[in-house]
């Protein structure tokens, strides 16, 4: 292992000499305090090292020691519900031991070593079977809502020689022995390790055809994200990015959620942690933290660790994907990671690209987003898992033409563009329906249409109305609304209804926060039916003022507050009210009133 000496210290970057034999991305221990660093470049015997902890106090000449291994994640039971920093140090445990402040040089294992987990061996394998990477050997019920599947680590295959009986084991105890041939045997434990920069292998990649149900109407109905897909959420400050991402992480119908707070606010992270413990999963009623993992590298923590926090999150996501689960990973915010790259790149004196960002910004972002996907996993039994990635982008001055946003758009399948002006008007979630897009609409339409025949039709009609509204508004600004013909006025009314009564959704309202697929579709169905009936009535010569008096309008305005399970009945009711009212208007039964 290389042993060198510090030659230069410049912020998070150090240069060390005498580092022959070290490799790029090797973990090194820097200085007398053994700070954790990673080699990011080599030149002769010199290594350029980014240090993941505060470098104050380092001296020229202090030792730098190679470890021979890449920065890896510890994967195994005990990972769920934890809060980690970018180096996978358990922050809550550190807090208990070291107090409220993060101190340097702390080394603690990511997974507790003394906890015993109840292991139940799989009935599908027995000693003598041939196993390979990904094969399931047994199970640990980690939390009431998460069954942790213990797999043979990727890259290992052979004949199962021993399999431990059901019982309690620590993560380090051997639960299986695999004869890999050539007289060599490998032990399998509850815990395994995987280098965070290396994608975990899978068998085949599948097309993302199933929508990720998020419970947020504007996503589910207008701009769906498929399981295994990737989406970017760019937005200026105050556009409600973090609230939206928290909401999606909370309510999405997945088995595991990973939230990475990368260079963001500490109080927000605290809020997320507390609310995930308090809120319960809509399906199981258990606390959401029993299926969530948090990675927190707040803005005042070491810059270099922002990159590791993102890759650590993805690696954990792939690990659960390999168990056959649907996983959602949210990174808030990828811009802070890009800024960290820019800072390190500047200190390396690399040739800068756009706005000082390194030229490899795009390829690094691609490495991250490309790790999403819906796959057939390795090993037996055969299973399908997915990892969906949502990345927040924080464009300076809310200007979407900046490098991080433009580079991100090259790799994602859906854009959920947040709009500060909508947020200023308190339209939340402030997703701009004219700028946003989703390439998954056609692929997920089939899934929706199994239960809701009109999903695509409703969606397209709603978007058409909104598009037409924006054209008409240009006109209104010149001539005023009264100058428009009645059918256009009606369209504006309906567009307002779509915006206020359908798209707007309160993240804090106990009922409105999660809208079931059924409720979402039926809500829009009501509005579109209202439009069709009203347009028909108007066409038959009934004045617009009569249509605007429809009492059902105020019912539509409050339909968000109806519980998911009661909605089908309310839908029937309202639809009946709409058709009755307009029929009466048309036949003149109501004209005198």
């Amino acid at each position: 292992m290389a042993r060198g000496k510090i030659l230069r210290v410049s912020g998070p970057l150090i240069v060390a000499e005498g580092m022959e034999g070290s490799m790029v991305y090797e973990v090194v221990l820097v200085g007398d305090e053994s700070l954790i660093g990673e080699v990011i470049g080599l030149q002769g015997d010199r290594a350029f090292i980014q240090v993941y902890e505060d470098t104050s106090g380092l001296r020229v000449g202090e030792p730098v020691e190679g470890t021979g291994s890449l920065l890896s994640a510890e994967l195994g039971p005990g990972i769920v519900g934890k809060v980690y920093d970018g180096l996978q140090r358990p922050l809550s445990v550190i807090g208990e031991i070291h107090g409220a402040f993060v101190s340097k040089g702390v080394k603690l294992p990511a997974l507790p070593r003394n906890v015993k987990w109840t292991f139940r061996k799989s009935l599908d394998v027995k000693v003598g079977d041939k196993v390979e990477g990904g094969s399931i050997l047994g199970y640990v019920q980690e939390t009431p809502i998460l069954l942790h599947k213990i797999m043979v680590p990727p890259g290992l295959s052979g004949v199962l020689k021993e399999l431990a009986p059901d019982g309690d084991y620590t993560v380090e105890e051997t639960i299986a022995v695999v004869d890999v041939g050539g007289g060599e045997e490998k032990e399998v434990r509850l815990m395994s390790k995987w280098p965070i920069r290396k994608p975990r292998p899978y068998k085949t990649r599948l097309e993302p055809v199933e929508p990720l149900i998020t419970g947020t109407r504007v996503l589910d109905m207008m701009f769906p994200v498929a399981k295994g897909g990737k989406a970017a959420v760019p937005g200026g400050f105050g556009s409600g990015k973090t609230v939206l991402l928290h909401t999606l992480t909370k309510w999405s119908r997945t088995q595991v959620n990973i939230f990475v707070g990368c260079g963001e606010r500490g109080n927000e992270m605290a809020d997320a942690l507390h609310s995930f413990r308090k809120l319960s999963d809509p399906e199981s009623g258990r606390p959401l933290s029993e299926k969530a993992i948090f990675i927190a590298n707040t803005s005042n923590m070491p810059v270099a660790a922002r990159e590791t926090s993102v890759f650590l999150g993805v690696t954990i996501g792939e690990y659960f994907r390999d168990m056959g689960y649907d996983v959602l990973m949210v990174a808030d915010s990828t811009s802070r990671w890009a800024e960290a790259m820019r800072e390190i790149s500047a200190r390396l004196e690399e040739m800068p690209g756009d706005e000082g960002f390194p030229a490899y910004l795009g390829s690094r972002l691609a490495e991250f987003y490309e790790r999403s996907g819906r796959v057939v996993t390795l090993g037996s039994p055969e299973r399908v898992g997915s990892l969906t990635i949502l990345g927040a982008v924080s464009p300076p001055g809310a200007d979407f033409s900046e490098p991080v946003t433009t580079n991100t758009l090259r790799y994602i399948g859906a854009l959920l563009a947040l709009d500060v002006s909508l947020a200023n008007r308190r339209h939340f979630p402030a997703i701009n329906w004219l700028l946003s897009y989703s390439q998954y609409v056609e692929t997920v339409a089939k899934w929706w249409e199994r239960d809701f025949r009109d999903w695509l039709k409703l969606r397209n009609e709603a978007l058409r109305i909104l598009q037409r509204e924006s054209e008409l508004m240009e006109l209104v600004r010149l001539v005023g609304p009264e100058a428009l013909p009645d059918p256009d006025k009606l369209l504006l009314d309906v567009a307002k209804m779509i915006r206020e009564d359908f798209l707007q959704q309160s993240a804090y309202h106990p009922i409105d926060a999660y809208s079931s697929p059924e409720k979402t579709v039926l809500m829009l169905d009501i509005i579109i039916r209202f439009y069709e009936e009203a347009a028909k009535t108007l066409n038959e010569g009934v004045p617009l003022s009569k249509i605007r008096e429809a009492p059902v309008i105020s019912r539509i305005a409050r339909m968000k507050e109806v519980r998911n399970e009661e909605f089908r009945k309310v839908h029937e009711d309202i639809v009946k009210e709409i058709s009755d009212y307009f029929r009466k208007l048309r036949t003149g039964e109501l004209s005198g009133s």
């Binding site: 230069r8 505060d54 550190i94 105050g238 809020d271 200023n424 804090y508 105020s554 409050r558």
Partner: protein, 477 residues
């Protein structure tokens, strides 16, 4: 602490330029350590090592490099990072940007020496802030409520009354039902002497403030010292909050001057500039300041921050307010339009925001109708603003009856609800009742965001003691 017996010293510099000093490296100097630079005249300045190499090291000198003669200076390495003495005796005192007294009083007897950079708070140990601070200013309390442990900046413009607002908040701020120790730490960063003096005087007069500690770097003080002032002030605040259970409000004015100093330093270091010449790491740098606010599990005190910054050319997308807005938990934006209309406080209601508001308001904290009244007022005011623009083009006559009611609401909202005296303190009930009065000029069925129960309970129409003032106002207007 490790004692460093061997004194490390160099007696000449290789170059001196733009507050940076390049010296030949001596063995064992540490990244980030403090140096003492002594000029031939005997004057000494504090500096910090910002780059250590085998041959050459770079020192940033607080106080600048003027009068430095590279051949006859003494640079002495202290072997530790920048630390300041702290003590409860600092109350009422005035210090410079590095913590030296400048009020003519004696040096303080330190209770502790603390690193000015602090240590990052473990996010898992933070307590989400949720205690409502009643400032007595309707606009703030009702629309962008502040909670203890929050960082809420004021985005101002040249000539707008940000200082008066901040001073009013300090005078009037209380947490309901609690008598706890409350102190203010004030950091003046590159402001004029008059501004700094105004603050210190008005803080002294505030009755609820146990005491004030001021750190002053005026416009004429060395630019580079501005890098240190906020950190020194926050270190003192943290000492009071975490060691002595005091609730501390830190006011820092003007953060724009801080960012300018950062740019100057970055240019001197010949770094690759980011947007508009500001260094690429400005977000991170500002975060190391703003993130030093909050509440901690198991500690009674708290640090609340109210940084003030002036937006160059009133531009909110300028890198300084932009990056600040990405870090802080909301912002109070002052509006030149409102100021021109003679309204105080001249806040831009639609651009201002408090992200932590939802946790600090509601039943048991303020009142059950608070959130709904807030949402309804914002929605109605947005509509009113839109109609104002429209009526400017097509004339108020072509607006409908309903639209005119919204216009009326927007006017009343500004004149009666937002506008208030500099010494007027409204408690939250008064503020919300006033909100209801203003809202009551709208037809009841327009109050879609308020639940029927709350309308029945709080709408002036259903309350016995209807105040006639708004009705009279409506007719007059």
């Amino acid at each position: 602490m490790v004692l460093n017996l061997s004194v490390k010293e160099v007696r000449r510099a290789l170059s001196a330029r733009g507050s940076l000093l390049l010296v030949k490296s001596v063995e064992g100097i540490r990244y980030g350590e403090v140096v003492e630079v002594t000029l031939p005249s005997g004057e000494s300045r504090v500096g910090q090592v910002i780059d250590v190499g085998k041959d050459v090291s770079v020192i940033q000198v607080f106080g600048g490099v003027s009068e430095v003669n590279v051949d006859s200076i003494k640079v002495r390495f202290k072997g530790e990072t920048l630390k300041i003495p702290v003590s409860l005796d600092m109350f009422g005192r005035i210090f410079d940007g590095l913590g030296n007294p400048i009020d003519g009083g004696p040096r303080i007897i330190p209770e502790d020496w603390l690193d000015v950079n602090g240590a990052p708070l473990n996010p898992a140990m933070r307590e989400p802030p949720s205690e409502f601070i009643e400032t007595g200013i309707s606009a703030i309390d009702a629309l962008f409520s502040i909670v203890r442990g929050q960082k809420l900046p004021i985005f101002s413009g040249a000539g707008l009354p940000h200082n008066r607002i901040a001073a009013q908040i300090v005078r009037q701020a209380t947490v309901r039902g609690k008598e706890e120790r409350f102190a203010v730490v004030f950091a003046a960063i590159g402001v004029t002497y008059e501004e700094a003096y105004f603050f210190i005087e008005s803080l002294k007069k505030a009755k609820n403030v146990e005491n004030v500690i001021s750190f002053i770097n005026t416009a004429s003080s060395p630019v580079i010292e501005r890098i240190a002032v906020p950190r020194v002030a926050l270190t003192t605040a943290e000492f009071l909050a975490w060691k002595h259970d005091i609730h501390v409000l830190v006011i820092m004015s003007d953060m724009t001057n801080y960012a300018e100093a950062l740019r100057e330093l970055s240019a001197a270091r010949e770094e690759v500039p980011g947007r508009r010449g500001y260094p690429g790491y400005m977000y991170t740098d500002l975060a190391t300041i703003y993130e030093r606010a909050g509440k901690v599990t198991g500690k009674k005190g708290s640090v609340t921050q109210m940084p003030i910054l002036t937006m160059p050319d009133d531009d909110i997308t300028h890198p300084i307010p932009d990056l600040t807005g990405y870090i802080t938990e909301g912002q109070i934006v002052l509006s030149r339009d409102m100021f021109r209309k003679g309204l105080y406080p001249p806040v831009d209601v639609l651009l201002s925001l408090s992200r932590l508001m939802k946790d600090g308001i509601g039943p048991g904290k303020t009142r059950e109708d608070h959130y709904q009244v807030f949402m309804q007022m914002i929605a109605a005011y947005t509509e009113g603003q839109y109609l104002r623009e429209l009526s400017a083009i097509i004339g108020a006559e072509s607006l409908s009856e309903r639209d005119r009611k919204y216009l009326n609401f927007a006017d009343l909202f500004e004149r009666r609800f937002i506008n208030q005296g500099e010494n007027e303190r409204r408690d939250i009930e008064t503020t919300l009742d006033l909100g209801w009065e203003v809202l009551s000029v709208l037809p009841e069925e327009e109050l879609k965001l308020i639940s029927v129960e709350n309308i029945r309970k709080y709408h002036p129409k259903y309350r016995s003691s209807v105040r006639a003032s708004v009705a009279a106002d409506t007719q007059a207007g």
